[in-house]
Subunit: 194 residues, 2 copies
Amino acid sequence: MNVLEERILKDGVVKEGNVLKVDSFLNHQCDVELFDAMAKEWAKRFAGKQINKILTIEASGIGMACIAAKQFHCSVVFAKKYKSINIDGDMYISQVESFTHKETNQVIVSKKFLNEDDRVLIIDDFLANGAALQGLISIVNQAGGRVEGIGIAIEKGFQPGGKFIRNLGYQLESLAIVDDMDWKTGTITLRKQD
Amino acid sequence: MNVLEERILKDGVVKEGNVLKVDSFLNHQCDVELFDAMAKEWAKRFAGKQINKILTIEASGIGMACIAAKQFHCSVVFAKKYKSINIDGDMYISQVESFTHKETNQVIVSKKFLNEDDRVLIIDDFLANGAALQGLISIVNQAGGRVEGIGIAIEKGFQPGGKFIRNLGYQLESLAIVDDMDWKTGTITLRKQD
C-alpha cells in the first residue's frame, strides 16, 4: 500500500452522496511531504517517458503538479476555469461539466504555453466521471501535443471515467482507486494495486 | 538583483492599465525552478521565525506556497474563493474585493485547519491594493493565530497595499517591487532592494 492509500484510510472521511473528503491533506490543507511521495511514485510509473510539461487544472491540482514538476524537471501549466468567456483566438478552450456544482465551465489554456512539440503529463487530484480530464486531453489535442500519461491522486473506481480513459489507450496512473465507500459505516474499500 | 527580478525584466509584459503580465513563468505557466529559488530567498528572509503553516489563496498562490513549504517543512492551507456562500459555523470568512474583476468574493478557510497555535507565513503572487492580503490576515486573526510574515512575489509599489501592511508592523517581504511601469515603452522600473 502506498502512502496516499494509507492516508486515505486514516484521514479520508466518507459523506453521503459518494463524497470522499480529503481536505485535511489533499485539497484545502496540503501535506507537501505526501505530495513529494506521490510525485516520486508517478516518476517511477512514468519512467522512460519523454515528458517536458505538466498540465493541470486550477485549483486543487496545482500544488501536486508543482511538486511533481521537480521530479520531471519541467514546467507546469494550469488550465483556468471561467463561467463564460468570449472566444479569443489566443486560447485553447474546452467545455467541462462539473457534477459537483451542476454547472458548465469553460477551461482555457493560452496558446503560448502548449504546442505540437509538447509531451504532456496531465495531473489532477480526482477522477470520477472524467469531465475535467476530457477537457484537458482535448486541450492537448487542440495544441497538437501528445499526452504521455495521466497521473491522478484518487480515482473513484465505481464511476466510469477511469475505465473510459484506459479504453482509449492512455497510460492512466491513479495512486489510489476507491472501489466502494459507505458513509454510514465510514468504510473505504481500495482496489489492490501491484 | 534576485532571479525573480531578472525574470520580470526579461519576460514580464506591461499592458495598459498598470497590468503586468507574468503568465509565462508565474501564474499560468509555472517555472518551478524559479519557485524554488524564490522559496530559498523567503527562507533566508524569514530565518529564525517559528513558522508551522503557510496560508495562501487560490489559484495562483498555491504552486509557490507548496514549493515554499518544502523550505519551511510545514503544510499549506489555501483559502477558497466563492461568489457567495451561506455562512457556515465551520468556516472563517472574509470579504475580498477584486479590483481586476470588479466583484466581491467571500474567502473561506475551514476552522479545522487554522487555530490559535498557528504561526503563519502568508504567501501570494501579487500585492497591489492589498485586498486579498487583508482577507488572509483577517482569517488568521479570526483563528487567533499569529502572522509571522508575509511573502509576496511581486508588489506594485505605486499602489498602497504594501505601505499600509508595513505600517501595521508586519514583516512583508516582496521579492520584486515594481515602482513604475510604462506600457507604451514596455519599461519596468524595480525598486532597489538590499
